[in-house]
């Protein structure tokens, strides 16, 4: 994704580096402090306890499901927002992006009044025997709610940057809209879609507030890794720190992956200047 002008001139005044270093330290120092606090001799037993592994497994499974939902609903949303102007588009974008700035606990309350037993949809779902509260489905819904904007923002940006020249050409050559989408648009924005999906996964993995409010907390069903950390903190600080480190490691791996992906995918295009 990085582009070099080739002149060797970076245009960054030296003092900027000092402030940038302070900013980087601000993010890194708390992580270093956490690593320093880890009880290393007990680290492996702490993170491989039954409850920890169950929570990690549940987190990975629900985050994968949430990411899939984000792709299913986020791709059409991003396409609509980026490609076809319609009245109320700005308003729709504002609402879709709302979970980015909303405190997750507010999201949880909103979901409760939608899918809860007494909720807007939940009341009707209850009649046909579908109960969402306290289920793994509730966890997936909470995570999808907070993660969807990440996918939409990434993909909408990619769609706008890519433009629609190739799509127009494909259309004049007789391709139907669905074919254009499948053969031109999606391949063109695949790196953006991939990094959006990875960000959604990472956000799902860290989701806490909405899950706690909406889904409850039960081992193996709704207690994801962040909820397990919050609970362990009550009695076993060492376990909480150890699990936090696991979550950080997974998050770093996931975010690292998202920066690897676009480069490998765009490499063939960059090779032909």
């Amino acid at each position: 994704m990085t582009q070099h002008s080739g002149t060797g001139y970076t245009g960054v005044p030296p003092w900027i580096y000092a402030i940038a270093a302070a900013g980087a330290l601000f993010v890194l120092l708390p992580l270093v402090a956490m690593v320093a606090k880890v009880n290393w001799p007990q680290f492996i037993p702490l993170i491989t306890s039954e409850s920890s592994l169950t929570a990690l497994g549940l987190s990975l499974r629900t985050s994968a499901a949430s990411t899939a939902l984000c792709i299913v609903f986020g791709v059409p949303l991003a396409l609509v927002l980026a490609r076809s102007p319609f009245p109320g588009q700005r308003l729709l974008r504002a609402f879709v992006l709302l979970p980015l700035v909303l405190p997750p606990v507010v999201g949880g309350i909103a979901l409760l009044y939608t899918f809860g037993r007494q909720g807007l949809l939940g009341k009707n779902l209850d009649l046909v025997g579908i109960q969402i509260a306290f289920s793994t489905t509730a966890v997936v819904l909470a995570q999808t709610f907070v993660a969807l904007p990440f996918l939409v923002v990434s993909l909408e940006g990619a769609l706008r940057t890519a433009g629609n020249k190739y799509e127009a050409v494909a259309a004049t050559l007789g391709a139907r809209p669905t074919t254009v989408l499948r053969r031109v648009t999606i391949p063109l924005v695949l790196p953006g879609l991939a990094s959006g999906a990875v960000l959604s996964f990472a956000r799902s993995l860290g989701e806490f507030g909405a899950t706690l409010t909406f889904a409850g907390s039960l081992q193996g069903v709704t207690r994801t890794l962040p909820l397990e950390i919050y609970l362990q903190r009550e009695t076993d600080a060492d376990a909480a720190v150890a699990l936090s480190l696991v979550l950080v490691a997974v998050a770093v791996a996931v975010v690292g992956l998202s920066y690897m992906r676009p480069r490998t995918l765009t490499a063939p295009a960059a090779a032909t200047p």
């Binding site: 809860g116 509260a133 306290f134 706690l212 409850g216 907390s217 039960l218 081992q219 609970l231 009550e234």
Partner: protein, 118 residues
């Protein structure tokens, strides 16, 4: 029936375990919350049918919940001590506060909130 309790790691969850032992029952909750107010919240929002909370929580919820007293709850009573800091600069004020809380007016306030007083 959906039952919600506190997780064993928090004080109200420890109390829940005491009750289970005292009554010889085993609860199969749909959720183990991190705080007793979360348990109460799940019941007042009607997501859960029942929850195990303190007497005082039932009082604060008012008409939204129906408290069901049971004899074994005697086994899981939390006692809250009151004390002044030994080397306090405001010793007189601290003593006055303790007197107010343990006096008849203070006891009345606590009783109204569902606490028992010694």
């Amino acid at each position: 029936m959906k039952v919600v309790v506190c997780a064993p790691q928090v004080p109200c969850g420890a109390a829940t375990e005491t009750i289970e032992k005292a009554t010889g029952t085993t609860l199969t909750p749909v959720s183990e919350e991190s705080s007793v107010t979360d348990v109460l919240g799940k019941v007042t929002s009607q997501e859960a049918d029942a929850g195990l909370v303190y007497v005082t929580d039932v009082k604060t919820a008012g008409d939204k919940v129906k408290g069901i007293p049971f004899a074994e709850s005697d086994k899981a009573v939390n006692t809250y001590p009151i004390a002044a800091v030994g080397a306090s600069k405001n010793n007189d004020l601290a003593q006055a506060f303790i007197a107010a809380v343990t006096g008849s007016e203070g006891k009345q306030v606590l009783t109204d909130a569902g606490f028992g007083t010694l």
